[in-house]
Structure formats: C-alpha cells, structure tokens
Homo-oligomer: 206 residues x 2
C-alpha cells in the first residue's frame, strides 16, 4: 500500500505499538494478545488490528502476536533503521529546551545544528549543539542533506523561515509556532501548539 | 449539545478559528467568508461550517461571518473568559523550558507552581514560579482547587504522579511523558510526545 493511502493517525499509533513492543521485549515477553497490546497502547483491539492490517498479516488466532517479529516489522515500517539528522530554527526559550531535551536522541534523531537571528546570544552552557546565524541555514541543509527540521521561531516570522527550509530541501517540519504554515504539497508539517493543548483541555473542565 | 458529543478534534479546530479571528480583529477586518477563514485555519470550508454548526448558526449567505460576534461566541465556547491556574510536575529540562515558555501566559493560563522530587536542584534563575517537593502536590491542588496539570516527569514514574494528580482533584492532564496513562474516565489526558512527532514525520520522508 502506498504511504499516502495510510491515515496519518495510524502512523502515530504504530509508533505507540512499537514502544509497547519494545517494553515487552525488555521484559522478556515473547507473545502478546491483541487485547493486551491494544490496552497498553490505549486503543481498542479493533483499531489495533485495522492499523496493523495496512502492513501485512500478523498474529495467530489464540496465540497472539510474536513480539520480536512484529516489532521488527514495525521498525522497518517506521523507517527507524535509518539515522535522521534534524535542524532547529529559533533558539529562544523553547528552542533551547528542545536542544537540551534528551528524548529525540534516544529515539534515533540527532539535532545537528541550531539557527537563530542572534546566534551568539548567551544560552545554557549545557547546549553543545552549534548555533549558527539563520542566513547560513539554507546552505547547511543542502550541504548535509537534512530532511527534517523543527521550527520554534515566533509566529510572526515562522512562514519566512519555513520557506527557507523548503528552499534548502527540508521535507518534514515539526512546527511549534502557533501559526498555520503554507508549504508545497510534498512537504509534511506536524504542529505542536502547547497553548492550544491546554486550551483544548480547559474546554473539558467542569 | 452535550460537551462529550462534540469530537475532541473539533475543539482543537475551534481554538485555531478563534486565533484567526483574533488576528482579523487586530487587523480591523469586520467580516470574513467561510472560504477565507477556513484557508487561514488550514481546513476545508465544509469542515469549518460543520465544526461551527455544533455551537449555533453563524454567518449570512454572501456576507460571511461577523468577526467580532463569532469571536465572542467561540471565546464563550472555549471557556476562555475564565482564568485557569495550572501546575506542573517534573522540573527537569523540559519542565524548566515549559516554565520559561511565555506562550501559556499569553493564552490565559498561569503555571502557579512546579513540583519535583528535587525541588532545590539548581535551575535557571529566570524561573520565578515556586518549585515544591512532590510530596506537597496533592495538598496544593486541593487548597488552590487546581483543575489542570502538566506532567513532564520520566516515563517510569508518570503513572504514579498522575495518580496523585487525580487524587488531588486534577481533571485534565497535558502529558509530555512518552507513556500511556491510565486515569478514571472523568479525567482528560492530552499527550504531547515530541519524539513521536519526529518519528511520525520521518515516516513520510523519501
């Protein structure tokens, strides 16, 4: 099945299944039922089976899934066997935190460089990633063939910086700026809007 | 219509419509067509109309929406007329960044306190929010009737801290820990998993 025929949210869930399988492997569990795996991932068993069906036939009735085998297939699906370099534009408060955040590295992503209009601003000495002037970003992306970027600049300049990223050859942007980006169809944008998340939660409070 | 009959993602989109309307107001635009508002929000016009229909009848054929009026209604819908105090548990790298991040305050949320197993660990002097020992969290939530919490502790202790939050009376959790939380049905959890977002993007890279 072509990549663009699989729903975006199914791919998110595959990542979560994969994490659950990793944990089962660490605990030396060999097989898992679809009920148990679905529960660990916080979805319904029908959802799990539907998601996995995009990628093949897995599991044996009454026996469940082979943990090692399913994990291997999903790693392949997610393309996580490859190492992915990532750049980040906008090294303010949030950008600095993202540079110090260990979670990316653990999952196989390395933030190779940061870009900012004030590259020499005083920052946390714990940040070891080099920070360059934004003018150098396009050339860096081209030279190092970077495909993924994190955008954490103020909303007012997000579109301009995103345009530069696309010019350089970025194919996927994780956008922390609270704004809707216009990008060519071949470029994927995932938005993380922290205030929006809180706003969404506050709606449900009694 | 009851709150739980409206899809979660529709509420996200309402937040985005509201932001677009704010911007139109700042630019002294009085009316906006559903096409233009949908484009600014990055959705299809049919989606916009469907989402708004949950909350009433808006707009006049050929004239579009009254910006001030629609914005007022959506503010009411989102409950943003009320001020919301928020606590945060886990003041490591990510938690510190969230405390320094100005975006929450701008949107009407105030992080009133942080909690950590090491409250006296050396942190950025820019952080003005008080940080207390995690033991004090339940009492604080009760005393100040806090309803919203941010969870940025390591995955291994996320469930335990979430349990304490629920015990205290938290109704909504923004979870940054890469784990699925089990909470009572009345408690809402939104997850933000930064590595998962990158993983999702990397799937789409050619």
């Amino acid at each position: 099945m072509a990549k663009d025929e699989i729903p975006r949210r199914a791919i998110y869930r595959v990542s979560i299944y994969q994490r659950c399988l990793q944990r089962l492997k660490e605990n030396e569990v060999d097989t898992v039922s679809s009920q148990a795996l679905a529960k660990a991932a916080g979805v319904k068993p029908t959802q799990l089976r539907k998601d996995l069906a995009y990628f093949g036939q897995f599991g044996t009735r009454g026996l469940g899934y082979d943990v090692a085998n399913l994990s291997e297939v999903l790693t392949e699906v997610l393309g996580r066997t490859r190492f992915q370099p990532v750049i980040i534009a906008g090294i303010g408060n949030l950008g600095s935190a993202l540079l110090r955040y260990g979670g990316f590295q653990r999952e196989g992503f390395e933030i190779v460089a940061g870009f900012d209009v004030e590259p020499n601003r005083v920052r946390d000495p714990d940040i070891k990633t080099p920070v360059y002037h934004e003018d150098k970003m396009v050339a860096f992306i081209r030279k190092h063939q970077v495909k993924m970027a994190i955008l954490s600049v103020p909303a007012s300049c997000a579109q301009g910086v995103a345009n530069d990223m696309v010019t350089g050859g970025i194919q996927a942007i994780l956008n922390f700026s609270p704004t809707v980006l216009e990008v060519p169809e071949k470029v994927i944008v995932n938005g993380v809007d922290l205030a929006l998340e809180l706003e969404n939660l506050s709606y449900f409070i009694r």
